[in-house]
């Protein structure tokens, strides 16, 4: 900056007070009322709370979908199990969870107790909180009840849409979840959870079975295996499900 400009700025300095006070006295500049700031703070707080509750809901819904499809148990079958598990993840929900988590971080970043922490630490705390809340809700019968109502067309359209097929990942073709209807010499027959169809499950000495579990009629099981007939599956592994 040249000396002339510096001189001009210096001359302007005493004028600042006069100019600002003149604007205030003549009413050209007015104070925003306190309620304006209280309203903004309240809106941000309510918005952040809404986003947090939505995150709890979406995380718990994802966990419910994974439980419901039986995919929750299949990583224990090793590489093949993990592959099927990844295909079972409701990725649309996961995407929404990431978007909402970023939104939550942005909303709460204005608070000193958040911006005083590193971005990574505050993000990690948010992730822990939403997973804890999500798993707590998933442990309640809430989603099971809602899915039941959705199956019986007793939910309003937006909720029925959520519990329908739209958000669920398509079931992996090699995972079968159902209740044992009858036992056979080489395995058992399961009926799927909706009672819509049966599948015959064949077990051989290479099938991965949990120790000490008696697969009797009425046991809820998850089976990973290859279809060998129209309704027959050669089991790669079987796990008892608590759903």
């Amino acid at each position: 900056m040249n000396d002339d400009t510096r001189q001009q700025n210096t001359e302007k300095t005493p004028a600042i007070r006069r100019s600002v006070m003149d604007a205030i006295v003549k009413g050209r500049v007015t104070m925003r009322p306190r309620w304006h700031f209280i309203l903004i703070s309240a809106l941000v707080a309510v918005g952040a709370l809404f986003v947090l509750l939505s995150l709890f809901y979406m995380v718990s819904l994802s966990v419910f979908f994974l439980h419901d499809s039986g995919a929750w148990l299949i990583p224990s079958f090793g590489g093949r199990g993990w592959f099927s598990f990844l295909r079972s993840i409701p990725w649309l929900l996961v995407f929404l969870i990431v978007v909402f988590a970023v939104l939550l971080e942005v909303l709460v970043r204005r608070y000193a107790f958040v911006y005083r922490k590193s971005l990574l630490l505050s993000a990690a705390i948010i992730v822990v909180i939403i997973f804890l809340g999500g798993f707590l809700i998933a442990a309640t019968p809430f989603h099971r009840q809602m899915a039941f109502y959705a199956d019986h067309n007793e939910l309003p359209p937006p909720l029925a849409f959520v519990y329908g097929a739209s958000f669920r990942a398509p079931p992996p073709p090699d995972v079968y979840h159902g209740i044992i209807l009858a036992t056979t010499t080489g395995g058992f027959i399961i009926v799927d959870q909706n009672g819509a169809g049966t599948t015959t499950v064949r077990i051989n000495d290479r099938t991965r079975l949990p120790d000490g579990v008696d697969f009797s009629v009425g046991t809820n099981v998850v089976v990973v295996g290859d279809r060998v007939g129209s309704s027959t599956v050669q089991a790669f592994g079987v796990r008892e499900s608590d759903e």
């Binding site: 400009t5 009322p33 700031f37």
Partner: protein
């Protein structure tokens, strides 16, 4: 009689005493002008920007919590105005994009016996080389060495972790010393 605090004056303004705001302008005009000149590197419109800061401060004074200190509050408004001014100047992008300094937690180094010498050297090189340091590191240097704010106040103004203030100051000092080169910083 003790001088009335900034917070007490701000309370009077909040209560409707508009004239009291003049006292706050009196107290902060020189400081904010210096902050503007050092951070924005003697902009032609420094006086206009400082005037805008006072106008915004008056408009938003009801958002000031009088149980806290007034100076970080008004400096926060100044910071926002300056960042906007820098954004306007730059033809592309934003001034601060993804800030990796705030991404990870940092440990703040404790003061050592060398601290006083480093501080003396930094102060000596500020006048000569500050304009060559990037705005991201220039601003904490200005706030710490020229405005004499502490880490916590700078953290409040920039809304970054206290440890990140330490990191930026260290990097700002390193940049200053690198620019200054091996020659003595002051004779």
């Amino acid at each position: 009689m003790a001088e009335e605090t900034d917070e007490a004056i701000a309370l009077r303004v909040q209560a409707g005493d508009g004239e009291a705001f003049g006292e706050l302008i009196e107290r902060y005009q020189a400081k904010l002008s210096r902050y503007a000149h050092k951070f924005l590197l003697d902009p032609d419109d420094a006086a206009d920007i400082v005037q805008d800061i006072f106008i915004k401060s008056y408009q938003n004074i009801q958002s000031f919590d009088a149980t806290r200190r007034f100076s970080p509050w008004i400096y926060r408004i100044a910071h926002n105005e300056f960042v906007n001014a820098l954004k306007k100047r730059q033809s592309r992008g934003t001034v601060f994009t993804i800030d990796f300094d705030t991404l990870f937690p940092h440990l703040t180094a404790p003061d050592t016996a060398d601290s006083a010498a480093i501080e003396r050297d930094t102060r000596a090189s500020l006048d000569r080389y500050l304009d060559k340091v990037s705005p991201k590191y220039r601003e904490p240097l200005v706030l710490y060495y020229l405005e004499e704010m502490d880490y916590k106040e700078i953290s409040e103004i920039l809304q970054i972790p206290v440890s990140t203030v330490g990191v930026r100051l260290a990097r700002g000092r390193a940049a200053l010393f690198k620019i200054a080169g091996p020659q003595p910083l002051y004779e």
